[in-house]
Symmetry: C2
Subunit: 133 residues, 2 copies
DNA sequence: TCTTGACCTTCCAGTCACTGGAACCTCTAT
DNA sequence: ATAGAGGTTCCAGTGACTGGAAGGTCAAGA
């Protein structure tokens, strides 16, 4: 299977797959013509990577998770610790964004949005800081 | 006022302030010794930037907002449009993160997290895609 | 006066995870 | 034979800083 088929199968851009080989996340073999060949194993790994990335795991987390995925004698505690940490980071980001949204949506609502210069949004940026509970 | 005082006043790292000068967001004057001098105007601008950045506006949005902030004959509609667009992006990010969180927290809950290899998280990454409502 | 240490300066490189583009090679169909 | 769709490598750029090296400047104390 060539790279563009692998891209279609996994939903990853071909560029990204090449990048993943570059940083040694996958190791496709090569044809006599130099083209990458993706077998079932590499395709599985790419799919795993695509989904782990969609869950927001960093590349380095993905590398570790992939190693655990392939290690039949892993401890699930190792996986859970990584996932738990990542989950906490996601929660923190959500909280940050909600604080931003709340501040900003108040300001947007207060702004007439006409051709006059008076603007509660600019005043708000001048005066307010983002509240984190 | 020297850069470290400006940093303290605004809460921005000195490095960041230098960077903001580099990309022409602020234009402090210079002392005879070459040190940057921050007057009231530049300090105001830095404070405005720090707060706009805390609300998640991009640097380019900040540049535009700053120009509007300084323009006494602005139309508040211009400000509102930028803020509204940004607000939509924040909402989208929140939705993405909540989808990730929901998927991931289910997987974490299902995982025993002991020394056995059986792991619903890895299985979940293998099988599940992130649901966006 | 000299020295110490805390400032300040510039410039270069690195971060993260790709992405775009140039220049070139290979395969398939007409 | 040629056109077009694939493939390859390599280099540079993204956003918004951040770290670090190498060196200039200043105020206080011995």
């Amino acid at each position: 299977m060539n790279i563009s088929d692998a891209a279609t199968q996994t939903g990853l851009p071909a560029k990204t797959i090449r990048y993943y080989e570059d940083i040694r996340l996958v190791t496709p073999t090569r044809n006599t013509n130099g083209y990458r060949v993706f077998g079932e194993t590499e395709l599985h790994k790419l799919t795993f990577l695509a989904r782990a990335r969609a869950l927001g795991f960093s590349i380095e987390d993905c590398r570790t998770l992939l190693a655990l995925y392939e290690d039949q004698s892993r401890a699930s505690a190792d996986v859970k610790r990584i996932a738990r940490t990542h989950l906490d980071e996601i929660e923190a980001k959500i909280a940050d964004l909600i604080a931003m949204r709340d501040t900003l949506s108040h300001l947007v609502q207060a702004c007439a949005g006409d051709d006059r210069p008076d603007c509660p949004i600019l005043k708000g940026i001048e005066a307010t800081s983002v509240r984190k509970d």
